[in-house]
């Protein structure tokens, strides 16, 4: 173990190794942040429709969740990156016309976003179904439409309940970005492997990656814990423990 390696220059590259890893970290965080937005929006919509009284919407939502949850993430990456442009000519034309880096980023965000959305949808559904039926009925009794009942009665409580599992999903998402190495996105794990390959200092490279991944996952955990405290409803779940 010699931390001096991080100050050594990358052969024929730009700057020392620590900067290479930092550049990778930047990609990791960008992909995770964008994918989280996609996952949160899409996951919420799908989670909500699975609890409505429209049968076809429920089936559609269930189908989505089963499809994306049951295919290994690395296979999904391969499908989005190689197969989709291969079989859909307009996508192919678009891919060839843009910077390959852009397509790697788009693929990673779409792939991780849709995958995590399936998992979030499950959490959102569970959160809504954990509320007593009385809440929904109370909303309807007040003359609120189904949409309004969700917006003003059900979702504000459901989201508070599922903050802990959402935290896990966020941390999972950050760690799952490492799979983007398989399509050549130069994120943290890709850079770690590259550093190992070129310097053979696997111990230092993967040691650094471990610390960084653990650090950002821990930081996001703390942020979500803070959010949980701030958003807590007095007397209800998660409040004043």
């Amino acid at each position: 173990m010699d931390p001096g390696i991080f100050l050594e220059q990358v052969p024929d590259g730009d700057g020392p190794w620590w900067r290479m890893l930092a550049a990778g970290l930047e990609w990791t965080l960008s992909v995770a942040a964008l994918a989280w937005i996609v996952a949160f929006v899409l996951g919420s919509v799908i989670g909500v429709v699975r609890t409505t009284d429209r049968v076809w919407l429920v089936r559609l939502g269930n189908g989505y969740v089963e499809l994306f949850r049951n295919i290994p993430l690395i296979v999904q990456f391969f499908l989005w990156f190689f197969v989709v442009p291969g079989v859909v000519p307009p996508v192919k034309r678009w891919v060839v016309s843009i910077d390959p880096l852009t397509f790697q980023l788009v693929t990673s965000v779409v792939c991780l976003g849709l995958f995590t959305a399936a998992r979030l949808a499950e959490q959102v559904r569970a959160g809504i179904q954990s509320l007593s039926r009385g809440q929904r009925n109370a909303g309807y009794a007040l003359g609120l439409s189904q949409m309004q009942t969700y917006r003003y009665v059900l979702l504000p409580m459901a989201y508070r309940i599922i903050i802990p599992p959402l935290t896990s999903e966020l941390m999972n998402l950050i760690k799952n970005t490492a799979v983007a190495y398989s399509i050549g996105l130069t994120e943290l794990f890709f850079r770690t492997r590259e550093m190992g390959e070129m310097t053979f200092r696997y111990f230092e490279a993967f040691g650094a990656a471990t610390v960084i991944y653990a650090g950002i996952a821990f930081a996001s955990n703390r942020v979500m814990a803070l959010l949980e405290r701030k958003a807590a409803v007095p007397g209800y779940i998660g409040a004043g423990k």
């Binding site: 590259g13 880096l101 050549g184 890709f190 390959e197 053979f200």
Partner: protein, 298 residues
């Protein structure tokens, strides 16, 4: 008195001549092989024709044939006719760690013998010499590496091609966009799909990907070279006994001319699984490596 000494001396001499390997204490890899009764060979799944899976999912290839010569030598020298050969697939990223941690004892693939790698592992005699260059589609109109300026190129992550391209870009004022495949098949797929203009890799591996493609005549390999690199089998570092056995065995195969037949079998004849011919005649650099077996790295 003199007579006794002579008898003792000749007895010692006889013992040494009769069983050179058995007489000395086994160390390192050979000791491990003797104790476990097995040797683990690391192979590549798609390094055609060095080491790859055939239609029965068995690893075959030029490097595998040479490694089996080593296995044969171990069987006879260690008197282990029942030596078990275990096969472990490796990738360009995990081959060195797996060698270091003892998972594999011998790697038979397409590994460049570099001075940098020699700090971590050891190599047998050079059995092939490659040029790092690019494969392009004939229809692309690209005739030299300089024509790649402004284009997207693919390469396989974790290979020596990556720093070579970066160096070429800097010295020649050429700017390319790099896109990395996880393995050679994926990198080639990017060119086949017109997602990248060229695949920069070792010429023989490019020839392998082209030979296996749906339309081999659509591709060509540029005649330029970014660098020459020797290929060799990888062994653990600081294991003189096993290295001596490997050098002796492979050196013998080269000196005796047996190597010519093995070379022709894999590089100029139809090979499994599809009966494709690599059409890769022996280059002067390779001939030189065979006549003077050596383990010099680049």
């Amino acid at each position: 008195m003199i007579k006794t000494t002579r008898i003792v001396l000749s007895a010692i001499a006889c013992a040494m001549l009769a069983a050179p390997a058995a007489a000395q204490q086994l160390t390192g890899t050979l000791k491990k092989i003797k104790e476990t009764g097995s040797i683990t060979i690391g192979y590549r799944e798609s390094s055609i024709p060095f080491s790859y899976l055939d239609d029965r999912q068995q690893p075959v290839g030029y490097a595998m044939d040479l490694c089996m010569k080593i296995v044969g030598a171990i069987r006879s020298e260690l008197k282990m006719p029942n030596l078990k050969v275990q096969l472990q697939p490796v990738t360009s990223s995990n081959r060195i760690p797996l060698m270091q941690n003892g998972t594999i004892d011998l790697e038979c693939g397409s590994t460049t013998n570099s001075v940098e790698r020699q700090k971590q592992v050891s190599f047998g005699p050079t059995y092939f010499v490659i040029n790092v260059t690019a494969a392009v589609k004939k229809s692309s109109g690209i005739n030299s590496l300089a024509d790649l300026n402004g284009k997207t190129i693919s390469t396989t992550s974790g290979t020596t091609s990556v720093p070579l391209i970066k160096k070429y870009e800097k010295t020649r004022n050429v700017e390319v966009k790099e896109i990395y495949g996880k393995d050679h098949a994926e990198s080639f797929l990017l060119v086949a799909d017109d997602r990248a203009a060229a695949f920069v890799m070792d010429d023989i591996l490019l020839a392998g990907q082209i030979a296996n493609s749906r339309n081999p005549s659509a591709y060509r390999i540029l005649p330029e070279s970014l660098r020459q690199e020797p290929y060799s089998m990888m062994l653990r570092k600081d294991d003189p006994q096993f290295k001596a056995l490997v050098d002796r065995t492979i050196g013998g195969v080269m000196k005796s001319g047996e190597i010519n037949g093995i070379f022709a079998k894999w590089f100029t004849s139809p090979i499994p699984p599809k009966g494709i011919n690599m059409n890769f005649p022996m280059t002067p650099a390779i001939r030189e490596a065979f006549s003077n077996p050596n383990d010099r790295g680049v």
